[in-house]
């Protein structure tokens, strides 16, 4: 299968830099698949699972926020946070999700609190679901 140069960089460092066969990411408007020879494009990322195929092996990661860009065959995934499935801290994600649920259930929470808690819960759920794919 044809490969393309893929780079995944986050504020915590480079997560991937090399040749990949396929990349599937969740953008704000839905999943987007990228193969070699893709047209130049840019899309903002939503929250979801990213799948990278390298040497016929699929790797999964929790990918949240940021953007993906394809320019002249070079694919750059620049998310705000990205964790490979085997690097996810499951207990922490569970605890964070539980805390978010508590805030959401609390009737005295303010709008900002609710919004933050909702986003946190979403992130926690994504991490938990991606962690199953180790």
């Amino acid at each position: 299968m044809n490969t393309f140069a893929l780079m995944i960089v986050t504020p915590d460092g480079v997560q991937f830099d090399g040749q990949a066969e396929e990349l599937v990411v969740r953008t704000t408007t839905g999943d987007m698949g990228i193969l070699a020879g893709h047209i130049n494009c840019v899309a903002p990322l939503g929250m979801g699972m990213a799948t990278v195929m390298v040497d016929g092996q699929k790797r999964y990661g929790a990918c949240i926020g940021g953007m993906v860009s394809v320019l002249n065959g070079q694919v750059k995934l620049v998310p705000t946070t990205f964790e490979w499935a085997d690097k996810i801290d499951l207990p922490r994600a569970k605890a964070s999700g539980q805390r978010a649920k508590d805030v959401l259930a609390d009737k005295s929470s303010t709008d900002t609190d609710l919004r933050l808690a909702e986003a946190r819960l979403k992130r926690a759920l994504i991490r938990q679901s991606v962690a199953q794919y180790k």
Partner: protein, 266 residues
């Protein structure tokens, strides 16, 4: 003197330890910072659609600066260098400054320069989330026309021995017209270019701010370490000089006493 030397020595050690941590963080963050910046500019350069308000240049002179400085002094020229750069850059513009770091904030206050908010004056405790909320705030102000440009003034960490203050233009994302030719390509925007820029620009701003912050933190520690190393050496030199002088004075006193005794016995 001895105790001063001990203090500077201790500060050097502390700075070394912190430097290692900050350096790792800066190095980890640097690819992200550079990729993000390069990608955005690539997109802007090959963009043919100029509808986004982020892309159009404005004639106004109201500029917003994010100033990243340290919280504490005793770091050589670290704080004064960024301030000098800010003042020379901002000459002739109406500037609003958002200081990150206590030293910068204090300096602005004493010069009567208005600052946007004082809530990020503790540079060491600013997190990524804070950077993103600052970015959102700046984007909102930019879209409303409160300012016509956004810049960040920070210190680039080149090596442990060399740090240079730099000023980076963040907004507007205006392309260099000479470079435009031959670089025009079609890019597919998903779902459309307006939405893409609307979502990506705040992210880009936040990311770049965070990167600049990491660089600055590493630079601060490196600058402090170098400054304290120099101070320790100076103290050591002074101590050596003083010991020599003291010994000479003592020797002179002894010699004189002996001369007096000899003279008295004759």
């Amino acid at each position: 003197m001895e105790s001063t030397r001990q203090i500077t020595k201790a500060m050097e050690m502390v700075a070394s330890a912190k430097l290692r941590k900050a350096q790792n963080q800066a190095l980890a963050c640097r690819p992200y910072f550079e990729t993000l910046y390069a990608t955005i500019w690539d997109i802007v350069e090959s963009n043919t659609d100029m509808t986004s308000p982020y892309l159009s240049a404005r004639q106004g002179k109201k500029m917003a600066y994010v100033l990243i400085s340290g919280d504490r002094g005793l770091a050589g020229g670290y704080n004064s260098n960024v301030l000098k750069l800010l003042l020379s850059q901002a000459e002739g513009t109406e500037m609003t400054v958002l200081p990150m770091g206590k030293k910068g904030a204090d300096h602005l206050k004493s010069h009567g320069i208005s600052s946007l908010t004082e809530s990020y004056t503790h540079a060491e405790s600013i997190s990524m989330g804070d950077c993103f909320s600052v970015a959102k705030q700046l984007c909102k102000g930019f879209l409303k026309g409160e300012y016509d440009g956004v810049y960040v003034v920070y210190t680039k960490f080149r090596s442990v021995l060399s740090q240079t203050p730099e000023c980076l233009q963040l907004l507007p994302l205006q392309k260099d017209l000479e470079k435009k030719h031959g670089n025009c390509q079609d890019i597919v925007y998903e779902p459309d270019s307006e939405t893409v820029f609307e979502t990506i620009v705040p992210e880009y701003l936040g990311g770049v701010l965070y990167g600049a912050l990491c660089e600055s933190r590493a630079s601060e520690q490196a600058a402090r370490r170098t400054a304290m190393d120099a101070a320790t050496q100076n103290a050591q030199e002074m101590i050596d000089g003083l010991i020599l002088q003291f010994n000479r004075a003592r020797q002179a006193a002894i010699t004189q006493e002996i001369t007096e005794i000899v003279a008295g016995s004759q």
